[in-house]
Symmetry: D2
């Protein structure tokens, strides 16, 4: 991770501010020969797009992505892929008061402390809008993975929103796409979440969320000691998303409560000649390298700091003020973090597939 | 993070296997003019050293560190600092059975899956012994920080060990150094932890742990959007430590349960002309950049997988087997993770101080 | 250097193909607070722009650069700066024959060997058009340098074009801007070069060139052992320019012919309390670190491979063919390499100023 | 290149000072499964070792390399390989006068300007002794290349030493190993070089040299646009060697004198179904990617600055002084640069093979 770039061989640099002319991602190191067009990326951007229901901001962002380079006749050439999303919903307004006030819980004050200045329009670079560029880049990674690891399936869902948590005993993969929270639960539970969030919103408040991203049918042998670990890179990728405050692999923080006998994933030989495990406390990663089990990452997103309830703060000149958010904001940004987390997982998985192929080649060790 | 290297400008590459001739760290990018000698590093290594009480492995490792390069007359010259720790406690024994068996919960199987081979002696590169090199490198970072940010104070402590958790209302900074768990609690609580862990050990079991690392009096303005965030690098640094399964900043995973009104850190002007905050849910970082508050990182360490209770597993040829650990192992590796976490925090803080100075110079923005 | 990115802290990633929708540069790590607008960049792009006289290709490329991110109210914010140049002169035509033929001396065959495909339109990514993005990025570096090192002056000029070479005894700084070859010579010499090149062009041929870039009033202390040397990065920067086949620092290749007594730059104290040197065989760099003397880099550009004279080659299917370039091409691409080399020097100098400030701070060692 | 590290996937960090306890190289990213032992590395170190004849310094350096990590039972495991060479020939002496004097043509003054201090013992980090670590690392690269590209043959030789230059019409590959200059010429010519250098040495002088490194049977498709070019990395690798002032690929600086018709390498199909070229002006690289032809790199080494003839200089306090080198020094360091250049070529070639395999896989494009 290097300021605005992440990845080793599949390298993504995002750029752009919320209300500037455009934002996007410069994707370098993509394998050649990958089928790729704008519609494939738009699919994922539409999933992240706000304005789709009343629980995400009503700001209308068509988020049309354009591919400016790196493909020829619908196939990647191996050269940098420039993805650009023009900002069409820039409302011109007076930013003078916003520019001199620090919104609590936002990066306004830290950008000022670091750089001595900031773009105050819509949060500038620190806006969640930056994640649109990640989703676009993740679409490129998914396209490459579709060819390199066709069985690999990356899917995210919410596991918690404030007091609401999923029931793992009723986990339903097929339900994820049927509700606006991407929860793996039936419509009754989804309705409960809906009512809960509506109440939060009407109370001029916001709420945090927890998201789980799973990579099923992941290849074994991805990752590397000691700092290029797969879980290290996943932790960094998720923690780099706006408002994320915690990242877990497998058991996560709960591992601190477990005994060795409880945490052990015992190993057997499966019928197909591949090792199988009695459980997956490890989240699919041992010693920083994937085991072939599902890779399970979870992260927490803090409640949106922009709320309609007044909060005390200061201005650049040190004078006290009160900040009340007006306008369009998500009562739970965690919802839109689901496709963002998926995109980051896709980028990390592709990057580590290329890294592995680079150092080791196609073959690893055999068992049995 | 690049395989075995971490850091942007202050770059640490650790090398070495548990039972090879030596292990160590190659430290590049250290500022010149830093007072540094082996005794300063040994201080931190002694803190991590096993064999100090019955709750850490009885293996005797003097862990004597040597500085092979990069200093002249006790001062750093700006060139690479090579730190070497010779492995003196290598018992020669027959590794042929260990070499063909995969211990559950260890990296044995994944190293094999990736590389087709591994050094089976004492876990090779995946041994927790690698963290000695981190602690040595962290000692270099601390020495540089002592000159660049003399007020900065980095301290770690356990917050949980299985069912035992600290009482935050009785938090006592001064108690941390007085007990073998580095808990911020008085001797009675420490005795309870001792009894608890003794029971775990006698039960041939192990237990996880949770560690919190705090950087007090940290400079504001460290970190950078969007992937060079301070919390991104801290998450990666902690997740890269052996057996770590989760990382939290400030509220961490609990942020998913909070409402916006609960999570807000309101801002005021302090008497010394610096901003103060009503609380520190953010853990000292907003938008990836430090606020000047305490930086608070927490991570969970899974229970040691090497336990004296038999676990089922397989051999390289796919045949089933049972693994029982013999010999010296920690019932809670989380204890020794405290100085390791401190070392990683020190490295990240120094790295970001240099990065900030590089891009922005000595000055940031003023308030008031 | 990482595929399409160069630089350590001031990092430039160029992207785009000759005949795609656009090309540009993603500039990360620029200091905040730098005055920057599109006109400042356009100044340098206009210097590189073809179609200005009959010795550069007649292709009309307005090369209008847009700043899409990273500035606010005409000042850099410290976030990534996206520079985009739309390709307006894309002639739609039939590329099917070009797509299956390898032009001798071009990257057509190697891109195919590596990637299995390429964008055949105008040379795609391997076109000299990519250097427009470098010049734009160099403009950003120059703007930052104007604030960080106001005395620093970076200037390039041709020293040779085929049989024509400059007369160093008649070196005239002020003449550089007065002729289309940027030679430091009076109009009579420039006319001779003009006649020479006209003859080459009429002969359906092309010719190589040698360019020298000098950084005057460069700070001492830039660079680092052993691979982050200033001359290492300059060599890489210049060699990465299309068609460059050699790079020299100071005496360059001629150093192989010299004796120690001839090559020595003796050292004295100057009247202003700074060291002065009896000569500058070293080109301003000793041990990879700048001395404070002029930094002198020279590079050779091969003759344009696209010539109107038929050359034998093969097609993708292995069949023999003859290639004759039609249309607009430079008889000497070395001319336009002058502003490109200046841009690369500017980027390297800024990068090393930031690197130095990061590791060492503002102060180095004093003499006297 | 990052201060003391070079390479993308095969990463080498050298460390150590001339007269410190040891120096060496940390090699990260080596493929697993490579047969490697100390004797294989010693072979190359012995080639570089001084004290072998009267034209290289008489300092006795056994240069015994030890492998401290990264191999098990004589095979690489994929983890970092630490190579250490202890400095056994450290003469204790009084460095106080040397420490306050800047030797002309050395890095003494620039290290002081940058860092405010330096290790004065034997030139410290800037000593040519650092190249021993490169040669050791190059030995690792050669061992990996022997398995990945068994036909690849990397060989260096001198092409010029002051007024002496090789006769390319009498080029004799088999003669290279038969004379102390590694020139591809018969014994009569070697004797002439010997007499020439003896005269230089007796005259208390030194002389520069030019070295050519050729990689024969190199795979096509290595390298990448635009900054990860194979020639860019080769230029950086060679320029990073002590005392190198110029680097050329193929025609090199002479390309500036050529016409397009003279420089063209025409393409044909060979009898084995691979493309062949009419000539190799390109030095085996087009557009930054290898063509499958011989890769030809040439570099110039300046004459040793340490000569027995007095040179004027200054001390740290600014006072004038005269420097006369005493003791053991090479009259032509270019001779020992031959194995160093070979080592750098080996590292770059392996790195690009891994990079290519990472991004593209085993296959590139077919012709015919």
């Amino acid at each position: 991770m290097s300021l605005n770039t992440f990845g080793h061989l599949f390298r993504v640099t995002t750029w752009g501010e919320s209300h500037g002319p455009a934002l996007g991602a410069t994707v370098d190191g993509c394998p050649p020969g990958v089928t790729l067009d704008e519609a494939m990326l738009q699919h994922w951007l539409d999933k992240r797009r706000p304005g789709q229901n009343k629980n995400t901001t009503q700001r209308q962002e068509p988020d049309q992505v354009r591919i400016l380079s790196g493909t020829y006749e619908g196939v990647t050439t191996g050269t940098p892929i420039q993805l650009m999303i023009e900002n069409t919903d820039q409302r011109s307004k007076d930013y003078s008061e916003i520019a001199r006030t620090f919104r609590p819980g936002h990066a306004d004050i830290t950008y000022h402390m670091k750089y001595g200045r900031r773009d105050p329009r819509g949060g500038g670079r620190s806006s969640a809008r930056e994640t649109a560029a990640r989703v676009a880049a993740g679409g490129v990674a998914r396209a490459a993975l579709a060819q390199l690891a066709p069985k690999l399936d990356i899917k995210g869902y919410m596991t918690r929103m404030g007091e609401m948590a999923i029931d793992r005993d009723a986990f339903d993969w097929d339900a994820i796409e049927t509700n606006p929270f991407w929860i793996p639960q039936g419509p009754e539970i989804a309705n409960e979440w809906e009512s809960y969030l509506t109440a939060i919103r009407k109370d001029r408040n916001s709420v945090g969320g927890e998201i789980e991203i799973v990579a099923r049918h992941a290849p074994a042998g991805l990752g590397a000691p000691v700092y290029g670990k797969l879980d290290t890179d996943l932790a960094a990728a998720m923690m780099s998303i706006n408002a994320v405050k915690g990242v877990e692999i497998g058991e996560g923080m709960a591992a601190a409560r477990l005994k060795g006998t409880e945490n052990a994933d015992e190993i057997f030989m499966g019928n197909d000649g591949q090792p199988v495990f009695s459980s997956n406390h490890a989240g699919g990663i041992l010693g920083g390298i994937s085991t072939g089990q599902d890779i399970v990452v979870r992260f927490a997103v803090k409640p949106t700091s922009s709320i309609l309830t007044p909060r005390r703060s200061i201005r650049i000149d040190g004078s006290p003020t009160e900040v009340v958010t007006k306008g369009r904001h998500d009562p739970c940004v965690g919802i839109r973090a689901v496709p963002v987390g998926e995109a980051m997982m896709a980028c990390v998985m592709l990057d580590h597939m290329l890294l592995h192929r680079g150092q080791v080649g196609e073959m690893g060790g055999r068992i049995g």
